[in-house]
Amino acid sequence: MSSESLSTFESSVPGDVHRTTTADADAVLDDAVEEPAVGTALPYDDVSLPGSVDTDPSPSTLEAAATGVTPAALGIAEYGTVTIPSGAAGDELVSLYTPRHVAVVAASDVVPDMPTAYERLGEDFAAGMDTQVLATGPSATADMGTLVQGVHGPSETHVVVLEDR
């Protein structure tokens, strides 16, 4: 990650970007989360989900949640994209069924462009993390005449960047 990539990333994400450090992450996450919330565990040392976040939701809890929090494997600066690996913890469901999705990404995982992203994806896939969604902004449709945001996926997306990770 270069600081240039990071600022490109910040300006291309179609949604709110929160740059923070591990020390302040708890407060930032608290702010970004609207309850009821569901989520999957974050893999970053010293950063954890707010206590109110349900990490083992039933389908009905999932459906009723206002926010879903998941880690992102990559940020792609040029596109403002995050990649969400979907594992047994249910990241795909959490990031999809909730109206607000909060993705948490380490600054060191923000890559400048798509070719670099595919290099990383290649490594991930070879290591078994072989289902990931490249997500860019809220879900949308133009099928009903004009652009409407928030269809089957989130209508609002946030990205939390851990600058010291």
Partner: protein, 729 residues
């Protein structure tokens, strides 16, 4: 095939009911995608890369099928290769039965439209629900998709509200507010997804080495469809296979730019099923383990292996169905995919798909709507020569049934090599040079006959030439006759060129040829106007490939000695220049085609080059103060990228230049003369008129003959070629 009158009536109805919505949607997306491409530096490099990946994937298809079968099975899924649509449907039905399923939800997929899986499953007693909102609308309306990626693009929000209000028993009627409609459809569809037993998706790409699917979406319905029910069936044409994950990179960067005008869609899912996500069982309100998941990949052949063996249709298999070629097409913008479409596929490339997976009859209904204007080509992310695919299919349609339809009488009248059964209209327009030669022997008489009521009646009845059009009038003296008498008027030339005497300039509009001569002479060039045959554009555009090839060979023969002598060839008519520069590639040996392509120039491009190299332009005509000009460049000129030279020359001489933004004038050679297409042509023309706006205070010029004719009618004034503006009087 239906009669001309039926065709005209069908298209008229479509323009009245669906034209507005289609026009607005396609033009908006076309502009957005132009803009997205302009901002994207890597566009051309990635197109080259994408093309190469597709070429080699299709070449290695049998191996890729084996490889993906192994990969999917190793992941715990199953692969089924279906030879035909019926096979594919049977496979899906068996999966439904095995899983004891009742309801299947689907995300948008053209391949499943191709096999009509909905009808098949419903007939077998299953419930099928489309989850893409556009598909959901047309499922309720019981219609076919009108666009590769915007299936309900032909409907306005008000239409959709009416449809929902009629279909559902609502307490309160829906208005035409897109937010409200989306919310409504989303709720209904969401419920179906939660209840479904099986989720069916297509795939934009399938990675052979890992069994990974790529799904490109905005709504998120495909993600839900794939992950919510415990059983996932993906149906994909075999052409969707690419070797490795890395191959997806160029497509990830291209598909939204050309398709929707976004840089990237909301979601690009790379999933390797069966996936690890727990299964959300909404009925029992519990998460079931991922082990319960079942995955089936149905790979559909249905004619594709045949296309792969077919040198001309093969590149259709490279198509990633982004829909850009439809959005960039003037005729598609006017009539939409219900007019410009076959059984399943729509738009320019639809012809290739229909000919490959269905038959020539299905392709035939839409094929004439491609006028070869070529504006789709720069938009195609995999560089398919879409007009060529259409020309080839047209040629095959012309030859259909030729063995049992020998019409000796007609055969004797026209000199081409085409089959006897060929439509008379195509034959008339394809042999325009012969007709011009005969007609110009007695120009006064020919004009009188063609312009008379009985003459027009005959032309319409026998040849389908619309009586509302005036055919171009023969000039009293051809360009070559004039030049033969006049001779060159440069004594000490800087260089010698051949001015190509195209049929229209020579027989119908010598004035623009004379202007070209004067402009070139004013820049110190000696002009030669030898007898050179018609370029082959006329028969080529009617799908008469053999005739076009003979013309091309004759043109090459006539020009090559001049080129050997160091003479460049200057061309006034852009559609002929496009033959020399691009289309001869399909008609002549490579070396000959290259020779012509490298040594032919648009007349204004040539003038620009002369001026740029220091020629003295003082003798050219310059405008007075504040002179404005409105300029409509020819579609093929734009594709070749030579329109900008006209703009530069005019503005360097002091004009303020306003240009049109539309893709095509609507006339498109002979298209606008044909009685079944006259109204489509005028509809496209009206759009050009709206775009150029009021030109009362300006000069109005156009480079193409047919554009000039169309603008003559739209503005009720004579529209010259730009060279006529700058040539010394």
């Amino acid at each position: 095939m239906s009669s001309r009158r039926d065709t005209a009536e069908r298209l008229r109805r479509l323009m009245a009911t669906e034209g507005d919505a289609v026009g607005q949607n396609t033009r908006t997306v076309n502009q957005l995608s132009d803009y997205a491409i302009q901002r994207f530096e890597d566009y051309e490099d990635l197109r080259d890369a994408a093309r190469e990946i597709k070429e080699s994937a299709i070449a290695n298809l049998p191996d890729l099928i084996d490889e993906v079968t192994e990969a999917v099975e190793a992941n715990g899924g199953q692969v089924h290769v279906a030879q035909t649509a019926a096979d594919a449907n049977r496979i899906v039905e068996n999966i439904m039965a095995d899983r004891d399923a009742e309801k299947l939800v689907k995300s948008k997929s053209m391949t499943t439209e191709e096999i009509d899986v909905n009808d098949h499953l419903e007939a077998a007693g299953y419930e099928v629900v489309e989850t893409d909102l556009g598909e959901y609308v047309i499922q309720i309306a019981d219609e076919a998709p009108s666009h590769l990626i915007g299936p309900a693009m032909h409907r306005s929000p008000e239409d959709i509200a009416d449809l929902f209000n009629r279909e559902f028993d609502l307490e309160e009627d829906l208005s035409g507010d897109p937010n409200e409609l989306t919310e409504f459809a989303r709720e209904r569809v969401g419920e179906h997804i939660r209840e479904a037993d099986v989720g069916m998706t297509g795939a934009n790409f399938v990675v052979a080495e890992s069994g990974t699917l790529m799904l490109v979406t905005n709504e998120g319905n495909a993600r839900k469809t794939a992950v919510t029910p415990d059983t996932h069936v993906a149906v994909a044409g075999i052409e969707k296979l690419v070797p490795s994950l890395a191959d997806l990179q160029p497509f990830t960067e291209l598909i939204a730019r050309t398709g929707t005008g976004q840089d990237i869609t909301s979601y690009v899912s790379l999933l390797t099923p069966p996936v690890d996500s727990p299964v959300p069982d909404f009925e029992a309100d519990e998460m079931r383990p991922a082990d319960d998941r079942d995955f089936h990949l149905v790979l559909l052949d249905n004619g594709r292996m045949g296309m792969r063996e077919d040198d001309d249709l093969r590149e259709t298999l490279y198509c990633i169905r982004c829909g850009a070629c439809s959005n960039a097409c003037s005729n598609f913008q006017a009539v939409g995919g219900h007019g410009f479409g076959g059984e399943t596929y729509t738009g320019g490339i639809g012809t290739g798909w229909e000919a490959g997976v269905h038959d020539l009859d299905s392709a035939g209904e839409m094929n004439d709507l491609c006028t070869g204007c070529s504006r789709c080509e720069p938009k195609c992310p995999v560089e398919i020569d879409i007009p060529w695919v259409n020309t080839v299919v047209r040629d095959r349609i012309n030859h259909q049934g030729e063995d049992d339809d020998l019409d000796f009488l007609v055969e004797g009248l026209t000199p081409d090599d085409e089959p006897a059964g060929l439509d008379l209209q195509k034959r008339l327009f394809g042999n325009v040079e012969t007709l011009a030669k005969v007609g110009s022997l007695v120009p006064g008489l020919s004009n009188a006959v063609a312009g008379s009521r009985p003459g027009k009646w005959l032309l319409e009845r026998a040849f389908g030439v619309d009586r509302r059009r005036d055919l171009p009038e023969f000039a009293d003296e051809t360009l070559r006759e004039w030049y033969g008498a006049r001779g060159a008027q440069v004594s000490d030339p800087d260089r010698d060129v051949v001015l190509y005497p195209d049929v229209y300039t020579d027989y119908f509009d010598p004035d623009r040829g004379k202007a070209a001569v004067r402009a070139l002479e004013a820049l110190g060039v000696r002009v030669h106007i030898p007898a050179v045959p018609e370029s082959g554009r006329a028969p080529f555009s009617q799908g008469m490939i053999e005739t076009a090839r003979e013309q091309a060979e004759a043109v090459h023969g006539a020009l090559v000695t001049h080129i050997d002598d160091g003479r460049d060839v200057v061309v006034i008519e852009p559609s002929d220049l496009a033959m020399f520069r691009r289309d001869y590639d399909h008609l002549l040996p490579e070396r000959s085609a290259e020779r012509l392509a490298e040594n032919t120039y648009d007349v204004m491009e040539f003038v620009y080059g002369l001026l740029d190299n220091g020629a003295d332009g003082d003798d050219l005509e310059t405008p007075g103060d504040d002179a404005g000009v409105a300029y409509h460049s020819h579609c093929q000129q734009r594709t070749m990228g030579v329109d900008e030279y006209t703009e530069s020359v005019l503005s360097d001489l002091g004009y303020s230049v306003r240009t049109s933004d539309v893709e095509c004038c609507g006339m498109a050679g002979s298209f606008g003369y044909k009685s079944e297409y006259y109204e489509v042509s005028m509809d496209v023309g009206e759009h050009l008129h709206d775009d150029l706006g009021d030109v009362d205070e300006r000069a109005l010029v156009a480079s193409g003959t047919s554009c000039q004719e169309q603008l003559d009618v739209l503005y009720e004034r004579e529209v010259p070629h730009p060279v006529e503006l700058i040539a010394p009087r």
